[in-house]
């Protein structure tokens, strides 16, 4: 008789809630009349995210940590912290997705994904005001994947979680209402490159299984530390796994998809990817390399060093050359990945807590930034060309100041959360002996500052163009998301201690 693994349902409740509500969302599509679907879906999603967040806090308070579900899922400090960060970022992104006032013809998503771009049918769908409400359960399923991804302590679970996270995203990326061809191209590109990365990861997992005879992180770790000689098989598998994971975090040289996909996606989905997916990908990276492959840190650290340097420098340099705010933010996301990797390369006790803090603060700020971006609109949808943003500080001071605060946060200016976060990861890197990386990180920060400042100059110091874009008045959904992001960026910069403490308490992995 087969033995059933014991499952701690209470500890897994946050994941189960998101998944369960996702299933409910699919049923809504089947049984609720079309005109009530959107509002039902929105509240189901908010209920899912809210209850999951409450459950996460409940688990954290109860202290019921441990490895469960047959050793495939670890419920520990990092897991709970990252769940919290993912849920908050996803909640903010959902607020953006719920926005209907910014685009006169509906939300950010195409009315019917099956219609031909620019075709007669598409026009009809738009006039009828139809909405593609399936995005809501798709987002919930993707979030389920993210949460499992950061908690997976088994290679097979890791891979399954990655796919659960990615497959809905591939779809969501292609659903933009405006510039649909760009969106569909982005979707295809993301799908192909993402599949390649998944395949490499899977290949790496297979080789690692061949080496260690196990898929379990703890057993892999033991087999690595007990065998004195490192074999070529092991190193190849580590490289393949690294490639697969670094693709998801968007590190150079696996970053090419980021600008295209970020630009082509509906902005709420871009926000979801830049916020929640980045948290999930880094969370999984941390667990795989610190727990399963921790014994090999002297082997993988040089690779991470190199990738970190490339990511910081190339991400910042390419961001300099962008003329589109959305693409610029995409490269800024790449550069920030590099800064995070500095902390990661430290491979020190403080690395985990500093990265947790960085991820949480960055995710919230970046979602708010994409939310703001969606408000500046021209005739063809979002007006993302930098030149269109000229003089915004004079016309729309509130929006420009909010965006300015977020840019300063990304640049890591003191009294913003970005500064504390950068300080934390750089300190972790330096403590781990990576002072050179810290120095390069500081220089890359100067380059990065140049393009953030360029946008501030355009917004505040230049005259508005003749055909200036319109700034849409958002509904409470977007406004709340932006307000939370901006407030958190300032508050966590001035009073970072409680959050840092939380990250520190949450920084111990259970093997």
């Amino acid at each position: 008789m087969m033995q059933m693994p014991s499952i701690d349902y209470f500890a897994l409740l946050p994941v189960l809630l998101i998944f369960g509500f996702g299933v409910v969302g699919t049923l809504i599509e089947a049984f609720v009349a079309p005109r009530y679907r959107r509002v039902t879906q929105i509240w189901v999603s908010f209920a899912a995210l809210g209850s999951a967040l409450a459950a996460t806090i409940g688990v954290a308070v109860s202290g019921r940590l441990g490895v469960t579900a047959g050793g495939t899922v670890s419920i520990d400090g990092p897991t709970l912290f990252l769940w919290g960060a993912i849920l908050v970022a996803a909640f903010l992104a959902s607020l953006l997705a719920a926005e209907r006032h910014v685009d006169p013809s509906g939300d950010a998503f195409v009315g019917r994904a099956s219609t031909l771009p620019g075709g007669e049918e598409e026009r009809k769908v738009t006039t009828l005001g139809l909405l593609q409400t399936e995005i809501w359960p798709l987002m919930l399923f993707s979030i389920t994947g993210m949460m499992l991804f950061v908690s997976a302590s088994n290679m097979l679970m890791l891979f399954v979680a990655l796919e659960v996270m990615s497959l809905p995203l591939y779809l969501l990326v292609g659903l933009a209402r405006r510039r649909r061809l760009l969106s569909q191209e982005a979707s295809l590109k993301y799908f192909i490159l993402g599949s390649l990365a998944s395949a490499l990861l899977l290949f790496g997992i297979a080789l690692l299984f061949a080496y260690s005879g196990s898929l379990d992180f703890a057993e892999i770790s033991i087999s690595i530390t007990t065998q004195l000689q490192t074999s070529g098989l092991l190193l190849v598998s580590v490289v393949l796994i690294a490639v697969g994971m670094l693709f998801k975090v968007g590190a150079v040289p696996f970053q090419q998809w980021i600008p295209d996909v970020y630009q082509g996606s509906p902005t709420p989905i871009t926000a979801l990817m830049a916020g929640a997916v980045k948290v999930a990908a880094f969370g999984a990276l941390l667990r795989v390399f610190y727990v399963a492959l921790g014994g090999l840190r002297w082997e993988w650290r040089p690779i991470i060093w190199l990738v970190a340097i490339l990511t910081m420098v190339i991400g910042s340099l390419l961001a300099l050359t962008q003329n589109d705010v959305k693409r610029m933010l995409a490269y800024s996301a790449v550069a920030n990945t590099g800064f995070l990797l500095v902390g990661f390369a430290g491979a020190d006790q403080t690395s985990v807590s500093s990265m947790l803090f960085y991820l949480a603060t960055y995710a919230v700020a970046t979602v708010a930034a994409f939310g703001l971006l969606s408000l500046v609109r021209g005739p063809g949808g979002e007006a993302a060309e930098i030149s269109a943003w000229a003089g915004l500080g004079r016309k729309e001071p509130l929006l420009a100041v909010a965006f300015g605060v977020l840019l300063l946060t990304f640049a890591g200016v003191p009294f913003t959360s970005g500064f504390v976060a950068k300080f934390a990861v750089f300190t972790a890197g330096a403590e781990g002996g990576a002072l050179l990386l810290v120095l390069i990180g500081a220089l890359a920060s100067v380059i990065a500052a140049v393009f953030y400042i360029r946008l501030i100059v355009v917004m505040f110091f230049t005259e508005p163009p003749r055909e200036a874009p319109v700034v849409a008045i958002p509904s409470a959904f977007t406004a709340v998301a932006i307000a939370i992001g901006v407030a958190a960026s300032v508050l966590l910069g001035v009073i970072p201690q409680p959050m840092l403490e939380l990250a520190q308490q949450a920084s111990v992995f259970i093997r």
Binding site: A411, F423, T427, L435, I453, V457, F461, T462, Q497
Partner: protein
Amino acid sequence: MSGFGFPALIALILIPLVTAVILLILPKENAALIKKVAISGSLVALVYTVFLGIGFASSIDTPVQYFVSYPWIRGFGITFAFGMTGLGLLMVALTAFLTPIVLALTDTSPTNGASARGAFVWLLLAQFCALGVFLARDLFLFYVLFEAMLVPIYFLIGRYGGAKRAQAATKFLIYGLFGGLVMLVALIGLYVSARSQLGFGTFDMDVLSSAIDLSGSTAVWIFLGFALAFAIKAPLIPFHTWLPDSAEQAPVGTSVMLIGVLDKVGTFGMLVVLLPIFPVVSAQFAPLFIVLAVAGIIYAALIAIAQTDMRRLLAYVSISHFGFIVLGIFAFTEIAMTGAIVYMVAHGLATAGMFLILGELIERRGTANVSDFGGVAKVAPRIAGIFLFSGLATLALPGLAGFVGEIMVLIGAYQRYQVAAVIAALGLVLAAVYVLWMYQRVMGGEPTSQVTKFQDLRTSRILVFAPVLIALVMVGVLPQAVIAPVQPEITQLQTSLGVAPAEPLLAGGSE
């Protein structure tokens, strides 16, 4: 001896901040009211500073007065620690003295389409940062305020400056951020070293300067990081090119805050960070600083002579004079160090006099080109008189503030670096050339057609200029008032640097 028993210094720092917040509540259109409130706030700070100065009683055992400390980010041992040293008192007094004068001479009409309120708010925020940085006793806090200082000046130049203001502001910010981020790396390095030696992380400047041993190659790199940041801020050649551009484009009041007050943070940092925390390395690198200082004195003076724009000319004059200050600091003799500090005060006052009277000229003529003037003395004798007076203070006429500092630096430097002192003395001659030649071309001769329309200085304006002129005489005649508060610190620095105290020349007294 913590003085009033309540956080006196925090109250002082908060005055400009609170005033700035009040301005933001006032209606933007009522510029006259805004100006009155801003000046009142800065006068409150001035009066309060006077009281703090009266209660100030430092000694060799308690060089830091009014010390307060609150935990800020416990995870990194960061505190909100403020305390007043003798040097801090002087710099605070300079800041508190100049701010109301600058505010009083700031225009209330909109500039470049931006309302005047912003200018007052940013000027007060600049004062806030300056007070904070001069009083910080936690190195992290010092760094944060050091960086934050850039923002008000950036916006003052970028919004209220001349035609090429955006470029100048950006250049200013990039140089500043570059220095700041290099300093951040040094700060992290210092933190890691301190943590490995002490077992806990701290940024307490007293602990860092007394309890840890910094020598060897790591210490050199950390030292160079700080030194570079301060050299850019001071600015020392070859890191000076941002200053003339900023001065040319900035409104004159901003130039006074920038060159007169905020740039002092560079040399201030050398005195409170480099020398106390890195005595051994400072001694190693002293010759390098001496060479850069002397080269700067001569080079900048020569370039100043060749300038056609008076704002650029004054900027180069300041660079030349910063050379004197650095020469005095790194000569390490008691008299030279004291002279350097006197010179810091004197330079702030003289710069204020020069730039502000230049502002009157620009207001009347719309340009700062030397060749656009001529014969002003005949039309506007008051302006010419103040111009000459400030100019004479700048070229160090005996009896005025500049002389005491300059001569003390030269005498003190001669005791250790004869050649350097002799070359630096040439700077005195060149100063006479650039000041008097400028005076002759601008004020002398027959009035040109545009100049004949000039109105002389209003009596109310004279009341604003009078304090500066009186202060220039006071420091020149009674330098003891400036020297006395810094004596304990100088003695302490001499001990930590291992230099024999009490050189015989001091008894001879050059003042």
